[in-house]
């Protein structure tokens, strides 16, 4: 069996580029493209130094609006972005980013008067401090700035019995329409641009070509002579992606009319996805309280808190993934004992943007009922926050000398996020209040252990009192759990939109 065609990748955005000024040096590499809503496409020259692709620091400074200065005494480079510092040291492939050390694939390099930094500087050092979503896509040589929507689209064409099938994988899932316009199909995505690797065709009698459409964010499918009608369907894929399948069909042999019903938008995907301009929200960690030997509270009917929290956490994960296309991680996905530090560590190690700990409350008073929302607080943490404000420590650096960096102890990570946590807690409280009974003291700051180490906005939700017989039944009921999930999804959306809007 021979392979008639070998698929090759076609990168749409680069094809559309045309005439990007490349670096003049012989070691210049293909340029990158910076995409943003405000400035459109901007080329960014790259060059290869010592086997590493690098950007000139002054190019980055111009594009991302930061300043940098050479410290002639310490021999380092200080980049200042929105009041935060990135410190680079020649000869060292480590940068201090707002006080945290990150590794780079190579040290900064100097040619003449120009400083160069590895391409990964953008994702590892700049992205955490630039204050707006910033994504580096090395394979497609793209840098996405400011929550611009550029889904990745990759596909293949396969002949099938009596027709052909075009399969496109879209990540993240993006609303789109498929319509027939003359002898072609046009797929329009609700996106600013596409990061597409489109296939060559293997069934030219049905599909002659799959190519970028004229307008941004569209794909055109040129139809072959045997085309008569098409069917399209979309199904959710892994990690917030989506698969679009378009079947191109021939005319039915006996009595098919010449003109098929134009553009029967067959089973269009339901408008499930919430596509407000995405803020910085990428990963949410959900913490089902207790588990394993730690049963938590127990209801009069024998229901355990650990069972309820896991059930709701699983539902919430599915709902957030389906509606927001974010990555969702559970701190436990079974009945195992997980330490309180481990739970925060799961969130920190996955660079979560939000941490939600789910619990059911207990009271010595069986009549006590209603949901409550907590964020970290109390005098003890306010004091710690004040202390941490200006705390800098001199640490020895490789090659001798010391450098002042900001040190946040692990067990105090949450202190930096108290304000956002309080804001998110209010959103959760408001959303819950619309759907489930609330306790009289529904929102509070408390010194809760699981929140202390979380290095991102974090709340603890007490969904109801399991010691109240009626609430125990509610907590195990599908309908009630679904209300809680809906409320939490709504508050995560509010939080995301707020963050997206708050960081222009």
């Amino acid at each position: 069996m021979t392979r008639p065609f070998t698929a090759f990748a076609l990168t749409l955005v680069l094809a559309a580029l045309g005439g990007a000024p490349a670096a003049q040096a012989p070691s210049s590499a293909a340029p990158y493209t910076v995409l943003s809503r405000e400035a459109g496409r901007q080329p960014l020259a790259a060059r290869t130094i010592g086997g590493q692709e690098m950007f000139a620091l002054e190019d980055l400074a111009r594009l991302f609006g930061f300043t940098f200065a050479e410290d002639t005494l310490a021999g380092g480079l200080t980049v200042t972005v929105r009041g935060q510092s990135i410190v680079l040291t020649p000869g060292q492939s480590i940068a201090s980013v707002g006080g945290r050390l990150v590794s780079l694939p190579a040290p900064p390099a100097r040619e003449g008067r120009t400083w160069y930094v590895p391409v990964d500087f953008v994702s590892r050092a700049l992205a955490p401090v630039v204050g707006t979503p910033l994504e580096l896509r090395k394979p497609s040589r793209l840098i996405l700035l400011g929550g611009i929507r550029v889904p990745q689209v990759a596909g293949r064409v396969e002949p099938q019995a009596g027709g052909a099938r075009l399969t496109l994988d879209i990540a993240p899932a993006t609303p789109h329409t498929v319509s027939q316009e003359g002898q072609r199909l046009v797929i329009r995505f609700q996106a600013d641009s596409l990061d597409a690797s489109l296939p060559t065709t293997t069934a030219p009698e049905f599909i002659q070509a799959v190519r970028p459409g004229e307008a941004a964010g569209t794909v055109a499918v040129d139809l072959g002579p045997q085309f008569s009608s098409f069917r399209s369907s979309a199904t959710p894929g892994d990690r917030g992606a989506e698969r679009l399948v378009i079947e191109v069909l021939p005319a039915a042999p006996p009595a098919a009319p010449d003109t098929p019903p134009p553009a029967t938008p067959a089973p269009e995907p339901p408008p499930l996805l919430d596509l407000a301009p995405a803020g910085a929200l990428r990963t949410v960690v959900i913490d089902p309280g207790h588990g394993g030997e730690e049963e938590g509270a127990r209801g009069p009917g024998g229901t355990l808190e650990k069972q309820v929290t896991l059930a709701v956490a699983r539902r919430l994960k599915a709902a957030l993934e389906a509606r927001l296309g974010v990555r969702v991680i559970l701190t436990r996905d079974g009945d195992q004992t997980v330490g309180l530090d481990e739970r925060a560590a799961v969130a920190n190690n996955n660079k979560a943007d939000l941490f939600i700990s789910l619990h059911a409350n207990a009271s010595v008073r069986p009549a006590m009922a209603g949901a409550e929302v907590f964020y970290l607080g109390g005098d003890d943490y306010a004091e710690a926050a004040a202390r941490l404000g200006g705390e800098r420590t001199a640490l020895p650096v490789f090659g001798g000398g010391t450098r002042d960096i900001e040190v946040i102890p692990w067990q105090m990570a949450q202190v930096r996020h108290l304000q956002q946590s309080a804001g998110f807690a209010q959103a959760v409280e408001a959303a819950l209040r619309e759907r489930v009974p609330m306790s009289e003291r529904a929102i509070h700051a408390a010194p809760f252990r699981v929140l202390v180490g979380a290095n991102m906005p974090a709340v603890l939700v007490e969904m109801g009192f399991i010691t109240n017989a009626e609430q125990e039944q509610q907590l195990t009921a599908d309908a009630f759990q679904q209300e809680i999930v809906q409320a939490l999804v709504a508050s995560v959306i509010r939080f995301r939109d707020f963050r997206g809007g708050a960081t222009p």
Binding site: A297, N361, D379, Q411, V450
Partner: protein, 192 residues
């Protein structure tokens, strides 16, 4: 007549003296020295002396802690007084309030550091018998923290230990790794 008058005056004087002694003089000698428990106590009377301290129990509606003035055995020095207060706090709640500390919990030891941090070492029942639930755990912790810091101003912070060791939490919620300041957030109206 004059003898009878003299006798009557004598009786009146004696009765007045007795009434004065009962109502004014004696109570002053026997009453506990509430204002200054640090003044040296009168040796033999110490065992019976009492102070009034505010202890904390769970309200009828379960929504808050309630501060209740209770008589507590006088203790000297301050660390002994702190023990007496915690022991009273571990005791039964006055109806209709409920105890904030799990049943069977006893005080193993209590120390006060030079910085005014009190370390309260509770028996294992404090964890084993806890019903769970974030709110009741807050009540357990702050009943003890507030009972000490409100009644003994020289105690600034309180750390709860269990069976002689530092613990993360009692029931999975409240961070006990560091001494805690007083917090009246969880305390409702005081009842007298």
């Amino acid at each position: 007549m004059s003898r009878r008058t003299a006798l009557a005056i004598l009786v009146i004087v004696v009765v007045s003296a007795a009434i004065w002694a009962m109502l004014v003089a004696l109570p002053q000698r026997v009453a506990p020295d509430e204002a200054g428990p640090s003044t040296p106590g009168a040796g033999p009377a110490t065992a019976e002396r009492r102070i009034t301290a505010t202890l904390y129990f769970i309200s009828e509606d379960g929504l808050s802690l309630v501060g209740v003035p209770r008589e507590v055995v006088f203790g000297e020095p301050i660390v002994l007084q702190a023990r007496r207060i915690v022991e009273a706090q571990l005791g039964p709640a006055p109806a209709p309030l409920a105890a904030a500390i799990p049943d069977g919990t006893t005080l193993r030891a209590l120390f006060i550091s030079e910085r005014g941090d009190a370390f309260v070492d509770l028996s294992g029942e404090a964890r084993a018998n806890h019903r769970g639930g974030a709110l009741d755990e807050l009540f357990t912790v702050y009943a003890i923290v507030n009972a000490l810091t409100v009644n003994l101003p020289s105690i600034a912070r309180v750390q709860i230990l269990v069976e002689g060791e530092e613990v993360d939490t009692l029931a999975g919620h409240v961070d006990l790794r560091n001494p805690l300041h007083q917090s009246l957030t969880w305390t409702g109206e005081s009842r007298n």
